[in-house]
């Protein structure tokens, strides 16, 4: 499909470097699916849905900055929704998110609540000013917040918040955030890896499963079409948490 033209309906600032964009197209995504966002003349980048008709973007480089220059009435191109999305399992779930990675989890949590599932959330941010979607998570059920600087909630990384829960109680655990954070959680909770779904990120170019840019070692799994959501036990056997490839295919660190 060619990119669909979409007019931005509204932009809301969630935190200093995070904004939510309302789209005028109903793409009917599942939580965890993503869309390729074309900022014309600049680049095309993957973004998770933060609700059926929004994306929530952190400004980190040229494409995201260019997107921040667009207001309501501006248009962008959209290809998607793509990827597999999260699968709801059981009646009592835990969402574990970090930073802008909380976006697809808020969407998932709302869908779960609508289906009568009990939702608990653990979300972490750098500092109080970086917190996003606090109201959305509060509305879902129990919420624990962590901040690196301790300005709100538990001080420390998200994993610090794990102590508050007995993970055995949850039917499924959903994870999204920076790779180091997800890796931190997964390595501390290996015995639960069979019920953790993590939404991960790799460098996407084609988003259609042909270019090979997003493939995960050692099996060559195409994250863009077979993911971006994977069971943690599958990730444990992969490159995840150890390295990721850049646009040129070279291995690099898996920060960010």
């Amino acid at each position: 499909m060619r990119p669909i033209d979409s007019i931005i309906q509204e932009v809301r600032s969630e935190a200093p470097l995070v904004r939510t964009f309302w789209l005028d197209k109903q793409l009917d995504p599942a939580p965890g699916q993503y869309v390729m966002v074309w900022i014309r003349g600049v680049d095309e980048v993957p973004m998770s849905f933060s609700s059926p008709d929004t994306i929530t973007v952190q400004s980190v480089g040229s494409a995201t900055q260019a997107l921040f220059n667009l207001g309501a009435g501006s248009s962008i191109g959209l290809r998607g929704p793509f990827g597999n999305g999260f699968v709801l399992r059981g009646k009592n779930i835990l969402l574990v998110g970090g930073g802008v990675g909380t976006a697809p989890l808020a969407f998932l949590g709302e869908q779960a609540r609508g289906a009568g599932i009990k939702v608990t959330s653990l979300v972490g941010f750098c500092s109080s000013q970086d917190i996003i979607f606090q109201d959305r998570f509060e509305a879902l059920g129990g919420l624990i917040i962590t901040t690196d600087d301790g300005s709100v909630g538990i001080k420390g990384h998200v994993a610090e918040g794990l102590k508050e829960f007995d993970l055995a109680e949850f039917s499924q655990i959903y994870l999204c955030g920076p790779e180091v954070m997800m890796w931190d959680i997964i390595s501390r909770t290996r015995e639960h890896a069979g019920k953790i779904q993590a939404c991960i990120s790799r460098y996407f170019k084609c988003a259609t499963g042909v270019c090979g840019s997003c493939c995960l070692d050692p099996e060559g799994v195409r994250v863009c079409v077979e993911g971006p959501v994977f069971m943690a036990d599958r990730l444990i056997e992969s490159e995840f948490g150890r390295y990721k490839r850049g646009p040129d295919g070279r291995k690099g660190q898996c920060r960010g």
Partner: protein
């Protein structure tokens, strides 16, 4: 089941259905996966002498019956790629290194620096300045580059040709003169798509290459012309999506085919095509050699 083994340009392939260059060829793991899924051989992403990020996005547009791409030859450089080739080889089929450069020397340098089962010279990418078809459109440059790599490499050399020319046979003959062990036809057709809401060319690079079913009749014709006029084998690529397409390409004169865009359907495509091919040969009581180049014999 009839044998699908073929000898193609210095390699022996257990079946004639290969993975095309630039498709899921960035990592050793994805190449090995293609091999394990049934490919008879795999070709890497094209490798240059320095790392390249490739063009800005969109790098791909789906159009009627095909894909437009302008990846821009992203690659980690050949220096970083030997380990990937070594992993790919654990898949058990020949691994062909696709390489590109802006001069005969650059090509030769890369071939010297890599250990692969064969080299495929990308003299045909239509959307990377100074590379690909910018050299590959000139028969004398095709011959020179082929000759230089032949002298440098200790493995068979295949030359991948561009269809963006008035006469692909001239290019094939140049490759043959340069000592190529096979030619591969075709790379993508230079093409573009425009966003009608805004007038923007959709590809980040504005123009790119058209692949998929749309170009199959052009590929079949290229293979047919080349096979009739060259002495070296022709590998057919362009729009192969089904076993019927593979049969058509082989009847045109291809001794093996490569599959690119059809990988959108998943890795299962290799087995699907090989199986269909084997069943077809069985039904017809024919061998691969019987059908190879059949169209040329009906002239």
């Amino acid at each position: 089941m009839p044998s699908l083994t073929v000898h193609a340009g210095g390699l022996t392939l257990r079946n004639p259905v290969m993975l095309a260059a630039g498709i899921l060829g960035t990592t050793g793991a994805s190449l090995r996966r293609a091999a394990l899924a049934g490919a008879g051989g795999v070709v890497t992403k094209s490798l240059g002498s320095v790392p390249r990020d490739g063009h800005p996005g969109p790098t791909i547009v789906q159009v009627d019956c095909g894909l437009l791409n302008a990846m821009g030859l992203p690659n980690p450089s050949y220096k970083k790629f030997q380990e990937e080739i070594d992993i790919a080889r654990t898949g058990g089929v020949p691994v062909v290194a696709s390489i590109f450069g802006s001069s005969a020397e650059e090509f030769a340098g890369i071939a010297r620096g890599l250990d692969a089962d064969a080299f495929e010279l990308n003299l045909s990418c239509p959307h990377a300045e100074k590379y690909g078809s910018e050299l590959g459109r000139y028969p004398d440059l095709v011959e020179a580059v082929t000759g230089a790599v032949k002298a440098a490499a200790n493995a068979p050399v295949w030359v991948k040709l561009t269809p963006n020319t008035a006469d692909i046979v001239e290019l094939g003959q140049a490759a043959q003169r340069g000592g190529a062990d096979a030619v591969v036809a075709i790379n993508t057709l230079k093409a573009m798509a425009i966003d009608i809401e805004t007038g923007y060319p959709i590809l980040g690079n504005r123009f790119g290459g058209l692949s998929g079913p749309a170009i199959k009749p052009v590929a079949v014709r290229s293979v047919y012309d080349l096979a009739l006029r060259l002495d070296i084998p022709v590998i057919g690529v362009g729009g192969v999506t089904s076993w019927e397409d593979a049969v058509e390409m082989i009847m045109a004169g291809a001794c093996a085919v490569q599959v690119g865009t059809a990988l959108q359907k998943g890795y299962g495509i290799f087995e699907e095509i090989s199986l269909g091919l084997a069943r077809y040969l069985e039904r017809k009581s024919m061998t691969l050699e019987d059908i190879r180049g059949m169209a040329g014999r009906h002239y």
